[in-house]
């Protein structure tokens, strides 16, 4: 299809107006990603004269694939993302359903609920560090006061308890975000559908299962997509709370990249981990979006 002269002019004007934003995106997103890919294919020496690159193909990727720490961190990040996202979706749904009722103080409840989400992760991680502290931690104090435990428990001292503690901190912080997305989704469902279901004698459970849930699936998918992507970039919480320990049990892939680059000065393998993480996140995003589109399509039909 050929564009008319006016349309061509308008298209050019459109591109011209878009170009500053595109330039910024290219500079702050595309260039760093491209440069990282280039770095990941080089052996890099860092001296006071800057970086010295020697092209080495896929050697860095080979190093990464042979590293047991990478596979362990990948497993940990995947497991962590799956568990936290599922729990956050269930909790977020329950809270959103409660907040969707015409109750008094709903606005205040939403505002209070959002506080954890507004906190910077580093700060909330530090706060949870104090809560879990074995000597002056509030959690031990509370549990000992009500005689659930007899002696202080070292929450961050073993791989299992440290992982669970970290998950709790994450769920506390991120459930409000999921709730908000789901609440927005719930408010888009026409009330007539519930009224019709009521007239048909549908129970509350049936209304939820046959009306709410199918119509909320796109919102659930969207919330899950956002959270999975965030969870794969997990860095600040373990960095502050556990430092990746005990041992390397709570080390995420982002931490492996950071450790390789800034701790070990292994820029090549470090950026290879970062590139692999980006690739994984893009794959997950594309997969989730496809699934989401299918769901929306089904509902539209």
């Amino acid at each position: 299809m050929r564009l008319s002269k006016l349309e061509r002019k308008s298209a050019i004007a459109g591109y011209a107006m878009l170009s500053p934003a595109m330039l910024v995106i290219a500079l702050v997103t595309i260039f760093p990603i491209g440069y990282s890919i280039w770095m990941s294919m080089n052996t890099i020496n860092s001296t006071f004269t800057g970086f010295q690159f020697t092209f080495s193909g896929f050697t860095n990727y080979n190093i990464v694939f042979q590293s047991s720490l990478f596979w362990q961190a990948l497993w940990f990040t995947t497991m962590y993302a799956a568990v936290t996202v599922i729990i956050e979706l269930v909790l977020g749904l329950l809270v959103a359903l409660a907040l969707n009722q015409p109750i008094r103080g709903r606005g205040l409840a939403i505002a209070v609920m959002l506080i954890p989400w507004t906190l910077i992760t580093v700060i909330s991680a530090q706060m949870w560090g104090y809560i879990y502290n074995g000597i002056y931690g509030v959690l031990n104090y509370l549990l000992m006061s009500i005689h659930i435990i007899n002696a202080p428990f070292l929450w961050l001292g073993s791989p299992v308890s440290a992982t669970i503690s970290m998950m709790m901190a994450d769920i506390w912080k991120t459930t409000p975000f999921v709730t908000m997305i789901l609440l927005a989704g719930l408010q888009l469902i026409p009330s007539e559908l519930y009224e019709a279901a009521k007239i048909d004698g549908s129970s509350a459970w049936n209304s939820f299962w046959h009306v709410t849930f199918p119509l909320l699936r796109p919102s659930l998918g969207l919330a899950a997509l956002f959270r999975i992507l965030q969870a794969f970039g997990l860095f600040d919480l373990p960095f502050v709370l556990t430092g990746g320990g005990p041992g390397t049990s709570t080390m995420s892939i982002a931490m492996v990249a950071y450790k390789a680059i800034f701790n070990d000065g292994a820029f090549g393998p470090g950026t290879a981990v970062a590139v692999l993480t980006v690739a994984l996140v893009i794959l997950l995003a594309v997969g989730s979006l496809k699934a989401l589109r299918t769901q929306v399509g089904e509902i539209d039909t």
């Binding site: 860092s46 001296t47 006071f48 004269t49 800057g50 970086f51 879990y132 502290n133 074995g134 000597i135 002056y136 202080p152 070292l154 929450w155 961050l156 001292g157 073993s158 430092g243 990746g244 320990g245 005990p246 041992g247 390397t248 450790k259 800034f262 701790n263 070990d264 000065g265």
Partner: protein, 434 residues
């Protein structure tokens, strides 16, 4: 066309000649009245030499050199190394003077991130012997002094004399066997549930405690003279067995595995531990009414050591020295000013003004009447300072350290048997690229 380019070239050359003339004039003027200089200094947010103390030093320096302004950037310790690294890789230094921890000395020297200060020291420091050799050693590698000593931090042995008296002991332990006995008695008599608290969180502090404990058993060097790791033998292995035993027998608080230095200090100051091995800041905390429940009960002492070891000092401590270094990519015009600032901040006169903040690096200041008045433990301080062991001065220290942290932490917690952890540690360090 060619004519046009010739004209452009000629104009450019004339312009550069004019500019060169102007800059020569400016340089001549600079000699008469110095141009304003901004020196970017990277320092650490910490207690002791705090941001307030450093800002004050900067203001004093500015008074002496009105054309020089010190622009400080304060970062928490975990961010310092990566900030120095990124600044070093930049075309122009983001920081002209950086705080250099002694554990980075090997790496900075090998990669040339900072410059050796030998020439400056030879020329401007009249009495280098006024700084203890142990401090110079920590900040030097292969004869190159990579940072001018600024902060002489080291660990002391702290005990609660009231608790020890209740247990029937008149003084603190001198040997490891005595220390173990005292801990066992304190626990058996229920004077304190966990007699000892240390900072065994999987972090750098754990390496310090490991090196020091190995030192208490006679050799805190984790690498031999050939540069090979020796954690699976001798004193280093005994140290690991000792730390595991204290944890297993409930002599060390299990919380030690998640405690950093301030947490361990708080446990001691709140009367939850009879012993603490920690940096010098504990001396201030234990006698501060607002922070301590044991005011007047804490004693600063030399470390207990295994019989027949550490004969010269009768103690074994660990160094935490910090120095001031000049970044290699600092513009040449700024390097003399960078050194002037370093010389000022590390001078005996300036350090003597801040005795409340830190133990001075200069022996003359450390033994001054002022210091003796302020710090009744000054003799013990000197003993422990002379007894320090340094962490390994290897160019890949941070990687080595993270391996040590991981295995020592797991060995203490019992996830891996001590011997296996020691062997794995050595094997993994040996497999690192040289």
């Amino acid at each position: 066309m060619r004519n046009k380019w010739t004209k452009v070239l000629m104009s450019a050359m004339s312009a550069s000649l004019l500019l060169t003339g102007a800059s020569s004039a400016a340089m001549a003027k600079a000699k008469a009245a110095p141009q304003p200089v901004v020196l970017k200094v990277l320092y650490m947010s910490q207690q002791g030499y705090s941001t307030a103390v450093l800002n004050k030093m900067g203001a004093e320096f500015h008074k002496e050199h009105p054309n020089v302004t010190i622009e400080f950037t304060y970062l928490p310790y975990p961010q310092l190394h990566s900030a120095i690294l990124t600044s070093a890789a930049a075309p122009v230094a983001q920081y002209d003077v950086v705080l250099s921890d002694l554990i980075w000395t090997g790496e900075f020297a090998a990669k040339g991130y900072t410059v050796a200060l030998n020439n400056y020291i030879r020329q401007y420091i009249k009495n280098p012997k006024g700084i203890p050799q142990s401090v110079w050693n920590g900040l030097s590698v292969g004869g190159k002094v990579m940072a001018m000593p600024f902060l002489a931090n080291f660990q002391n042995f702290y005990y609660n004399k009231k608790m020890l008296a209740e247990a029937g002991f008149k003084s603190g332990p001198k040997t490891m066997a005595q220390w173990l006995h005292q801990m066992q008695v304190l626990k058996a008599k229920h004077i304190v549930q966990y007699p000892y608290e240390d900072s065994w969180l999987q972090a750098e502090g754990l390496v310090c405690d490991y090196v020091r404990t190995a030192g208490e058993f006679g050799n805190g060097n984790l690498f031999n003279a050939k540069g090979q790791p020796i954690m699976n033998q001798g004193a280093a292995l005994k140290a690991l067995e000792w730390m595991r035993m204290l944890y297993k027998d409930g002599l060390a608080n299990p919380n030690s595995l998640a405690a950093d230095e301030p947490t361990a200090a708080n446990a001691f100051a709140s009367g939850q531990a009879a012993f603490n091995t920690n940096w010098t800041f504990v001396t201030g905390i234990m006698n501060n009414k607002s922070e301590s429940k044991i005011v007047g009960q804490g004693v600063v002492s030399g470390f207990p050591v295994a019989p027949g070891t550490n004969r010269a000092t009768l103690s074994a401590s660990i160094s935490g020295f910090q120095g001031l270094a000049i970044a290699a990519n600092t513009p040449a015009s700024l390097k003399p000013w960078a050194w002037k600032w370093i010389q000022f901040a590390t001078s005996p006169a300036v350090q003597a003004q801040h005795l409340h903040s830190e133990w001075p690096i200069w022996s003359s200041v450390a033994t001054s009447p002022q210091e003796k008045h302020l710090n009744p433990w000054y003799k013990v301080y000197q003993q422990n300072l002379n007894a320090v062991y340094n962490r390994p001065a290897v160019s890949n220290y941070l990687t080595v350290s993270s391996i040590i942290q991981q295995y020592v932490h797991e060995a203490i917690g019992g996830t891996i048997p001590v011997k296996t952890a020691a062997n794995d540690m050595v094997q993994q360090i040996e497999s690192l690229p040289k």
